[in-house]
């Protein structure tokens, strides 16, 4: 009893202190309201809709879906595609990561750039290129059979998502101390033996986690299957068609939940694996001498593989460039700018809307994510874990599910939001902010965790309150993370499609939706032109932000956050 009393006193003291910092208290309350409204509530609505029939609780939607092969097929297809893409993508990513971290390959920067480029380009550009290459009027028409289906989708998604695996695995391989390999070599192990007994076992958790990441991305992918799936229907596209084509909200929601469950399971499995990365020894940079004299029979196959994959990526993207200047793809190859003119005429409003909305949400997302990251790493308050969980939730939830959730949640007024948001620009902004929040928060948390807490304590000790400490101490120290977060958010927002497609309207539209429209009308050249414009905008923005950070960063670079 005595203990109980004490901890109550402590809690009361904590609350009293919170009241003395009204800025903090109000911020926490506002953030909770927003998270409930824009993250929890929509997902709850999807669940509710999938679980009700004629206004009652029922599992009928699920039994219907699972009984009819028309609905069950997309589930299988999504899984097969996911497993194929994840496996091949991880393999590609691993070879690239190995080449970058463990071989003396030339032009690593260029390879790295090519390998990561698909991450900043809109997701469906690769699919578009695939049609231009292997489609009915493509250069290599029929070379790999019918591309509308599993084959085409696998190729396209591997190109689009291998970069994710690559980036994750570079981190994993870099964290393995080369001294371990040297020690193994010292004990007489051959390269291949070292790979099998040292590198592979140490990298296994990382490899599995990369696999799961790609699997999640493939499941959630909407743009590529929308263009390329043909008769090979997948969950994300089926759910979309149920809702926009058949106006069947219940069935759409049910499919969305079927998509959500494996994704969330994979996500938490992946998080769990990462949290257990018990052996990885971070002991400095891999400045190994052994990589310099790598045996030829390892080097050259790896080089050849990287070269081949890089060429494929280049081929795909150059096809889009080439295609955008042709009069009529496959029929009349006269060079022309007509596609750009036409694209601009039709798509001007889409482009302006996208830019306008992205420009508004980017700073909002940036600041909000840093602030939440600060709260969950540095502040003790009731509900901190709930805040962390809900703010990171959208990261695991496929865009299709979020999009359906927004339709269900904001088509009509509710106690949480007394006005209808559907059709406004605001709903698009809210969706983008809360979809991009998790990445920003993750970067922010990583940056803040590197700052010694006593630096902030020193500020508080000298009289600053939490808000002032955050603004004057924490924020300047996480500026680099903040700006890279901005860049990331802008790119993700400009290239978003899966959730956005549900909330666009006549009044507010989006560039990616316009590209899909062109593809739908088989206007591939205009689609290519618009994709290129989009890529150009994204690269320009990235360059600008890099320029700004470099400028400001000069004084801060080695902020050498005291460990």
């Amino acid at each position: 009893m005595k203990h109980q009393g004490r901890s109550t006193i402590q809690r009361i003291n904590e609350i009293k202190k919170l009241i003395q910092e009204p800025f903090l208290l109000i911020s926490i309350l506002v953030i909770f309201y927003l998270l409930i409204l824009f993250v929890i509530f929509p997902i709850y609505q999807v669940f509710k809709t999938s679980l009700s029939y004629d206004g009652h609780f029922s599992l009928k939607n699920y039994s219907d879906v699972l009984r009819q092969s028309y609905y069950i097929k997309p589930l299988f297809n999504s899984m097969i595609l996911g497993v194929l893409v994840a496996t091949i993508g991880t393999l590609v990513g691993f070879v690239f990561a190995y080449a970058i971290t463990r071989t003396p390959m030339k032009a690593k920067g260029a390879f790295r750039l090519i390998a990561t480029f698909p991450m900043v380009s809109p997701p469906f550009v690769v699919a578009l290129a695939c049609i231009l290459l292997f489609g009915r009027s493509g250069i290599f028409a029929g070379a790999i059979g019918n591309i509308y289906g599993l084959t085409g989708l696998t190729i396209v998604e591997v190109i689009a998502y291998a970069p994710t695996a690559f980036l994750a695995l570079v981190g994993v391989l870099q964290a393995i101390d080369p001294a371990l390999e040297e020690a193994a070599m010292d004990c007489g192990a051959s390269r291949i033996k070292i790979f099998k007994t040292i590198i592979l076992p140490l990298a296994t958790p990382g490899i599995v986690s990369a696999w799961l990441l790609v699997f999640i991305q493939s499941l959630a992918d909407f743009g590529n299957p929308m263009i390329l799936s043909g008769d090979f229907s997948v969950l994300s596209v089926q759910a979309y068609l149920q809702i926009t084509g058949m106006y069947d909200l219940a069935r759409g929601s049910t499919l969305a939940i079927l998509l959500l469950v494996p994704t969330v399971v994979a996500f938490y499995l992946q998080k769990y694996l990462l949290s257990k990365k018990s052996y990885v020894t971070v002991t400095g940079k891999p400045t190994s001498a052994t990589i310099k004299n790598l045996e030829w029979y390892i080097k050259y196959p790896v080089y050849a593989f990287c070269m081949l994959f890089a060429l494929i990526v280049l081929l795909f993207y150059s096809m889009v460039v080439w295609g955008s200047f042709q009069k009529l793809w496959g029929v009349d190859s006269t060079l022309t700018l007509r596609n750009y003119v036409q694209m601009w005429r039709v798509g001007k409003n889409y482009i302006i809307d996208s830019l306008y909305i992205s420009a508004i949400i980017t700073p909002i997302t940036g600041i909000l994510s840093m602030f939440i990251a600060y709260l969950i790493t540095r502040k003790q308050f009731f509900g901190r874990n709930a805040m962390e969980f809900s703010s990171m939730l959208t990261f695991a939830v496929p865009g299709t599910v979020v999009g359906i959730g927004y339709i269900l949640a904001f088509n009509t007024p509710s106690p949480l939001m007394p006005i209808t948001l559907t059709g406004t620009g605001f709903i698009i902004m809210a969706l983008l902010v809360f979809r991009n929040l998790p990445v920003g928060i993750r970067n922010g948390v990583a940056a803040i965790e590197q700052i010694d807490p006593s630096i902030e304590e020193a500020s508080i000790d000298l009289g600053a309150d939490s808000g002032l400490t955050f603004r004057k101490i924490t924020l300047p120290m996480i500026t680099p993370a903040f700006f890279s977060g901005l860049a990331n958010c802008f790119v993700r927002s400009m290239t978003a499609i899966s959730a956005i497609i549900f909330v666009v309207s006549g009044r507010w539209n989006f560039i990616t939706v316009a590209v899909l429209g062109f593809v739908d009308n088989s206007q591939y050249a205009q689609a290519a032109a618009m994709s290129l414009l989009l890529i150009a905008i994204v690269l320009l923005a990235l360059g600008l932000i890099k320029f700004v950070t470099d400028k400001m960063g000069r004084g801060m670079q080695s902020t050498s956050i005291i460990e």
């Binding site: 402590q10 910092e21 006593s454 630096i455 304590e457 020193a458 956050i561």
Partner: protein, 362 residues
């Protein structure tokens, strides 16, 4: 001078829940006189840092309260308390110059620019940081960073200055010179200070009072000399300096001294603890420098030298007694005394006025 300028009343802190609860600080009471420097000394995990952080306000006490100049601090957040801390790793703001680091708290207090400039420059002169104002913290040596951290705290003119093991990141030589500087500065400014350390030498040389802590409890409070010569228990005796512990029985009690029976020989010690009676089992605390090996004779406790090391200015012996306990002995100015080597039989003379007797602990 106020006798209880800083006062800890029943201060308690526990971490964790009922099941796996750890009591870091257990109902401690302490009064610090205005202008005094008090060190909290103890092994790691004794609760000294937790206590300091409760004074600063970074930990909320589970029970009890902190009073500064008579005002209860419990409801006051750390940024409103009249305390300033010098951090173990200095915690300098890496994106600000030295000047801006020191000025930070004054600016938060919204003091005028002229005032800030004057105060910061004064303190920089006082601490020997002239001409370093425009530097970035990373351009400074460890010792300089330490000074900036001290200046940043001092410039606030806090009622209580807190030090969290401020010298532990410096090399040994710098540590000695810096602690002397801190002491001089603290006395000159006359600021009430609480200083946490695990280095007993640091505590002895710096403090007006030393507070010895162990397992969340205060073991003893006293001047360095009191603590060294009259430790209240075995823990304090062993923690401060080196000590040999001899189990003896009280033979007779006289007005100013105790006569003790040890291995069949008589040893005389000052009567400090009035509760010790004839027949009691006691523990003699004999510092290594309080024992002198001599040629054996009837009166002296017998032993055999098992190890001897010659240092020039002193001689270190390990002497094994008949009951196989081994005593550490230091003899200053060995040239003046007979020198023994391994295997020699010796008689041990105890310098009776230096001995300290503790009642036997359960």
């Amino acid at each position: 001078m106020k006798e209880a300028y800083l006062e800890l009343k029943d201060l308690t802190k526990s971490f964790g829940n009922d099941a796996d609860k750890v009591v870091a600080v257990d109902h401690i009471n302490l009064q610090v006189k205005e202008g005094d420097l008090v060190t909290l000394l103890g092994p790691s995990g004794c609760g000294k840092t937790t206590t300091l952080r409760m004074i600063a306000g970074f930990h909320t006490p589970t029970g009890g309260d902190v009073y500064i100049d008579g005002v209860s601090m419990n409801q006051i957040p750390p940024n409103k308390r009249p305390t300033a801390m010098v951090f173990q790793n200095y915690a300098l703001f890496p994106h600000m110059t030295v000047f801006e680091n020191i000025a930070y708290g004054l600016r938060i207090r919204k003091e005028s620019n002229d005032e800030v400039k004057r105060k910061v420059e004064d303190i920089m002169r006082l601490i020997g940081l002239e001409n370093l104002g425009d530097r970035q913290p990373r351009q400074l040596s460890g010792g300089q960073q330490q000074r900036v951290s001290l200046a940043r705290a001092l410039v606030m003119e806090p009622k209580v200055l807190l030090f969290d093991e401020p010298l532990s990141n410096l090399d040994a030589k710098l540590r000695v010179s810096t602690r002397l500087e801190i002491r001089k500065l603290q006395q000159r400014v006359g600021i009430t200070s609480v200083y946490v350390t695990h280095d007993q030498e640091e505590a002895m040389t710096l403090s007006d009072k030393v507070v010895i802590m162990d397992r969340g409890l205060i073991q003893q409070v006293g001047s360095p000399a009191e603590i060294y010569s009259h430790p209240v228990n075995r823990f304090v005796a062993g923690f401060i300096g080196k000590a040999n512990f001899l189990q003896a029985v009280v033979d007779s009690v006289e007005s100013a001294q105790l006569v003790l029976q040890f291995l069949g020989k008589k040893i005389v010690a000052p009567r400090w603890n009035k509760e010790i009676k004839t027949g009691d089992e006691v523990l003699i605390v004999a510092r290594p420098e309080s024992i002198l090996p001599e040629h054996p004779n009837e009166e002296l406790v017998e032993g055999v030298v098992v190890n001897s090391v010659y240092f020039g200015s002193q001689m270190l012996y390990e002497v094994e007694l008949l009951d196989h306990t081994v005593l550490q002995i230091e003899v200053a100015d060995p040239q003046y005394h007979p020198i023994f080597t391994q295997g020699h039989k010796v008689g041990l003379a105890f310098k009776d006025r230096s001995l300290h007797v503790l009642p036997m602990e359960k």
